[in-house]
């Protein structure tokens, strides 16, 4: 996917082309930055994020502690960096769970229709009818708190979205003439599904993956904020917000995790836009070479 930089773009649709190019760089840069921080951040973090030092509690930002210190004198920057890894790992695993469960169920529902579709769709509607946080609280009440269970819960919460996208896309593709054409050359049902349906619903699912990553980050932060996700003393953005909420008079505690969340969710949203544009505009999947 190369970025078109021909001069023709400047003539008629110059500004919008320029805008599209710019936001693409922001997305690539942002995602690369997040991945880098998640992968290598803890190695280069200035302090041990677990190290308590009660002589330097509630330090405002300084050259020693760029983002200040918290109630136990721990370095906020180091905790934020380790929190990034937790957030992204949770998001990726949860989205994978959502995709692996919701995707195939949606494809089966859309492809077979009939009672299977009716049954699955009602179950999914039921899941969506319950507020996400309530569903999460219920499941965690059963499974018990902790990051692993929180990840599973987030995955379950995302399942309906993948189900819906996969089902709708499969319904669309099933109406396509090339499906009938495949049947008319003797294609079996399984082959039809795997070779002709699945490759053609990949783009909307990919868009949903990047959208869901942002969603998963929010839910993880919410659960950790409530103390149901990451448990102290392990650092997480939600947990840091919770600690900051105890001392709203100290502004610098709440800004770093808050901005980190806003930044991450924004990047994933832009990513989904970029994915949609590049796959949708040019019949993308076909010209991958």
């Amino acid at each position: 996917m190369s970025v078109q930089t021909s001069s023709a773009g400047d003539m008629s649709v110059g500004s919008s082309m320029h805008h599209a190019g710019l936001s693409r760089y922001i997305v690539i840069g942002g995602v690369a930055f997040l991945l880098f921080v998640a992968a290598f951040g803890p190695l280069v973090a200035p302090y041990d994020p677990f190290h308590n030092d009660l002589t330097v509690t509630y330090q405002p930002p300084s050259s020693d502690h760029w983002f200040g210190t918290d109630a136990l004198g721990r370095d906020q920057l180091s905790r934020l960096v380790l929190g990034t890894r937790t957030s992204l790992m949770t998001a990726f695993v949860a989205v994978a769970i959502g995709l692996v469960i919701g995707g195939p169920l949606g494809v089966v529902a859309g492809f077979r229709r009939g009672w299977i579709d009716a049954l699955l769709s009602r179950v999914i509607d039921g899941m969506l009818a319950v507020p996400a946080l309530m569903l999460a609280l219920t499941v965690i009440a059963v499974l018990g708190p902790g990051l692993r269970n929180a990840t599973i819960v987030i995955g379950i919460l995302i399942v309906p979205w993948f189900f819906r996208v996969a089902r709708a896309a499969t319904l669309d593709v099933s109406q396509e003439t090339y499906i009938d054409a495949s049947i008319s050359v003797g294609c079996s049902k399984w082959r039809l599904l795997l070779r002709h349906v699945v490759p053609n619903i990949a783009s909307p699912l990919l868009v949903q993956v990047s959208l869901s990553l942002g969603l998963a980050v929010i839910i993880e932060a919410s659960l950790s904020f409530l103390g149901l996700g990451v448990r102290p003393p392990d650092p997480s953005w939600g947990g840091m917000l919770q600690e900051a909420a105890q001392r709203l008079d100290i502004g610098y505690l709440i800004w770093p995790p808050g901005l980190a969340l806003v930044f991450t969710i924004g990047i994933f949203t832009l990513l989904s836009d970029a994915v949609r544009d590049s796959l949708g505009a040019s019949g993308g999947r076909a010209s991958g070479a």
């Binding site: 396509e176 003439t177 090339y178 009938d180 054409a181 495949s182 049947i183 008319s184 050359v185 003797g186 294609c187 079996s188 070779r195 002709h196 490759p199 053609n200 019949g283 999947r285 076909a286 010209s287």
Partner: protein
């Protein structure tokens, strides 16, 4: 397209067993409020070896449903409610899905309308053809690819080896239709069902595709069932034609007879609708009224509310059956005593 008509030789159908034959084929769809709605009733016709049979009718007359039934394909929960289908002398009416899969693409192939949408956008055209060839002919990967290239070459796609590696969106409508013909041809089928293959194409491209089909019939002896609503195409391409109206075959005949001496009033109505010899500002005669919708078919002859020759009683009480006569078959009680005016085949 007068040039094409002049170069097309009219062939008499080869006598002998039919390649594909439909006998009283009826197809019904599930109704929204329960029960079944019969969309095709008692369709009967034969497709002989090496001929092109036109299946003509308006949109919604059941042409496509009939042709899909001939391949054992039933859309949207529809099913065969009567009649029998024979392929190459063998009754295939009760064939199971596995049996049909062996025939489809292999012995009976289909060319769909809307070529741009009948190809899977996710794979190269060569791969899609190779897949069909590989499966039915038992070819290896490399052989199947070579076969695909050769088949593309055979439908006159220039630079076939290179173009086989391209994706469907890189093909124009006419070239994509050639690809579909190639895919249908890949396993040397005995029958090709072409469902309005040129409807989405402009007229010059249409002429090329028709020429290609004619050439294939002459070279390979394949039989083609050509579905269309365009009588001009029937006139230049087909030896015989079956006319469908409201889910019924109303007339089967040699094309020359069909045009010059139609026996069913509906056929005559279709011929009258051809805009030839009408003065500027004059009106086409056409057929008054509208095609009835499935589920609310008139009693008796389905065409009687629109027919100028209707007789109270014979035409309006009991459903009519297709009656065979010396030159073909028709579904009209008055066909023997009516003399309907046709048109010269060339004018279409």
């Amino acid at each position: 397209m007068p040039e094409l008509i002049e170069t097309t030789v009219v062939r008499t159908p080869i006598a002998g067993a039919a390649m594909l034959s439909a006998r009283d084929v009826s197809v019904a769809f599930p109704a929204a409020r329960g029960g079944w709605i019969e969309v095709v009733r008692s369709a009967t016709f034969d497709l002989h070896p090496g001929e092109i049979l036109g299946l003509v009718g308006e949109s919604g007359s059941g042409k496509t449903v009939t042709s899909l039934a001939l391949m054992g394909m039933f859309r949207a929960g529809s099913r065969l409610t009567g009649g029998s289908i024979a392929f190459d002398g063998r009754d295939v009416t009760a064939l199971d899905e596995k049996g049909w899969r062996e025939l489809r693409g292999n012995r009976i192939a289909m060319v769909m309308q809307q070529p741009a949408r009948a190809l899977n956008p996710a794979f190269t055209v060569g791969r899609q053809i190779a897949e069909v060839a590989g499966r039915h002919l038992g070819l290896g990967r490399k052989q199947a690819w070579e076969h695909a290239v050769a088949t593309l070459d055979r439908v006159h796609i220039p630079d076939a080896r290179q173009r086989a590696k391209e994706f469907p969106h890189q093909f124009s409508g006419g070239m994509a239709q050639r690809v579909l013909v190639a895919m249908a041809l890949a396993c040397e089928p005995s029958v090709i069902i072409a469902d309005e293959p040129t409807t989405a194409l402009d007229v010059t491209v249409q002429a090329h595709i028709l020429q290609l089909l004619r050439e294939l019939v002459d070279d390979t002896g394949v039989s083609i069932l050509y579905i269309t609503h365009d009588l001009a195409v029937v006139a230049q391409l087909c030896e015989r034609a079956a006319v469908m109206y409201a889910g019924e075959v109303v007339e089967v005949s040699d094309v020359v007879d069909l045009f010059e001496r139609p026996r069913h009033p509906y056929t005559q109505g279709l011929l009258d609708s051809i805009p030839v010899g009408v003065e500027k500002g004059g009106r086409l005669r056409g057929v008054p009224g509208q095609i009835p919708s499935p589920g609310s078919m008139p009693a008796g002859c389905r065409f009687h509310p629109r027919c100028a020759h209707v007789l109270d009683g014979p035409c309006t009480t009991t459903p009519l059956e297709l009656v065979t006569h010396d030159r073909g078959a028709d579904r009209c009680v008055r066909s023997a005593d009516l003399t309907l005016t046709g048109v010269s085949r060339g004018t279409a």
